[in-house]
Amino acid sequence: MILTHSDQAMLQGEAGGAARIAMELLVATAEAEGATELLDISGAHIDGCLYHGQAGLDFGRLLLDGGATVVVPTTLNVSSLDLLHPGLYRGDQAVAVAARELMDAYVAMGCVPSWTCAPYQLPARPGLGDQVAWGESNAIVFANSVLGARTGRYGDFLDICCALTGRAPATGLHTDQGRRATLRVDLDIPDHMLDDDLLYPILGHLLGEVSGMAVPVVVGLDSRATEDRLKALGAAAASSGAVAMFHVVGVTPEAPTLDAATGGTEPETRLVIGPTELSRARGSFNQGSGPLGAVSVGTPHFSVSEMEQLAALVAGRTTSVPFYVNTSRDVLARAERSGAVTTIEEFGATIVTDTCTYITPIMEDVRGVVMTNSGKWAFYAPGNLGVEVALAGLEACVHSAMIGEVTVGKEW
């Protein structure tokens, strides 16, 4: 491992105890990844602020006791609590106290209290070629694929180690070589399916299943694959699989052409995904029909455009079941100015910020199936919450909420 004088100084504790611990852990992990040096980063996004038990808090305390201060602009992921709507939390109070201490610890280290899993929707976000260290699987895949920023798959703890040192392992997706597509996926579907929001999380789910550790390149999408749709695609792919980057020819910034995405070497493996595969995957998410228990949308956090899209669908209507909308405090403030929030609240929806309905006890006791428009939520909620799910587009979710019955829309 080639270390700079500054790296070595940190290892010797010259930048304080926390920076020393962070550099030790970073070097050990970089060596495990096969990196031979570290590189400078211009920002970080921390997933370690979400409470999973005493270990995370003990680590946060260890760093704070060592005088931890981040050296690059650093945003924070969702936590276990909605600080703007504290009454929504229905969990154990001791957990809430510990979760709050963890959140405060990361803020005390100088992180921005953004509390969102979609930091790419904040006004300041990295751009093409920027080296960053991001945690949160959906944020990682979005940063690499849609923004063209460069981050590895940083786990909890390693994310803050990078933020405290300003360094990251110079390997994998941080390098040109590591970003080249090694798997080609051709989409062979009728053109009208590209207009369907539901295509994107389902395609993402399949992409995660087939990609393994490869960087896939998708051929067959076009400009209808908006940022919101690519967000849904990436989040699902990073849930069913380990996808940390994908290319879409003609859409994502490093894939103006197939050759640009692959570096000129045609991938050895080429797959075709058509309506049959997509319908099968869609069917696997629809675990129940009949009475609807609740609806949860906004995983990852809704963007301003999604808030406005929802407001347009629900204007003048009323939900008959609990309807949760997860978003960030930043998006909430912007959607309040446009009037979308008032419309959504008049519909009877509960807006959740700073956290998400599948990671903390917020939803009331649910009887019946929970509908969502999120492939990620549909993937994790059965295990996390013990609920049955149905995955559908936003319009079908709204319609179902009004009538209290699961209606997932017509089959492909």
């Binding site: 611990i21 852990l25 050990a28 992990t29 495990a32 990844e33 096969g34 997933d47 370690g48 979400l50 999973h52 038990g53 005493q54 270990a55 995370g56 003990d58 680590f59 260890l62 945690g135 949160e136 699987s137 990682i140 590895g152 798959r153 940083y154 786990g155 909890d156 703890f157 390693l158 994310d159 180690c161 392992p169 393994g212 550790m213 990073a238 849930s239 069913s240 699989g241 380990a242 993937f379 994790y380 059965p382 295990g383 996390n384």
Partner: protein
């Protein structure tokens, strides 16, 4: 007869029953650190315990919170004895390293070929992975 050498990702020695995961598992959403049980309903080995096992996995998957879940399981004593990964995974590595620093927990992680045979007691011994008994 030469045995394959493994790359040491997290140093250590550990012995346990081999748990062969036929698909990657995200520990967050997939492992309950309170019980050590695999809870991901989409996973073929759902319901099996990781506690004390030498876990063989093709590669990592899913959530970056898996480091926290691994560290928490190791703190509670429900975690695996060690991992044999076909592809290195820094999310598991940092979880094991942090548990080691905070609690002295030993959870060696190596990368290399999947152990042959699906049962029995295996030992991770630095850069070697060896069977101790036939299952």
């Amino acid at each position: 007869m030469s045995r394959p050498r493994f790359r040491v990702l997290v140093e250590g020695v550990a012995t346990g029953e081999l748990l062969l995961l036929t698909e990657p598992l995200s520990l967050w959403g997939g492992l309950d650190p309170e019980t050590g049980l695999i809870v991901d309903r989409n996973h073929p080995q759902v319901g099996r315990t990781m506690t004390g096992a030498i876990v063989s996995m093709p590669h990592g998957r899913g959530s970056s919170s898996s480091s926290s879940v691994l560290a928490e399981a190791l703190r509670l004593g429900t975690g695996p004895a060690g991992f044999v990964l076909e592809v290195p995974d820094s999310i598991l590595v940092i979880g094991a390293l942090v548990a080691q620093r905070l609690y002295g927990a030993v959870c060696p992680i190596v990368s290399g070929p999947r152990p042959e045979g699906s049962t029995g007691t295996w030992r991770i011994d630095h850069n070697r992975v060896v069977p101790l008994a036939k299952g």
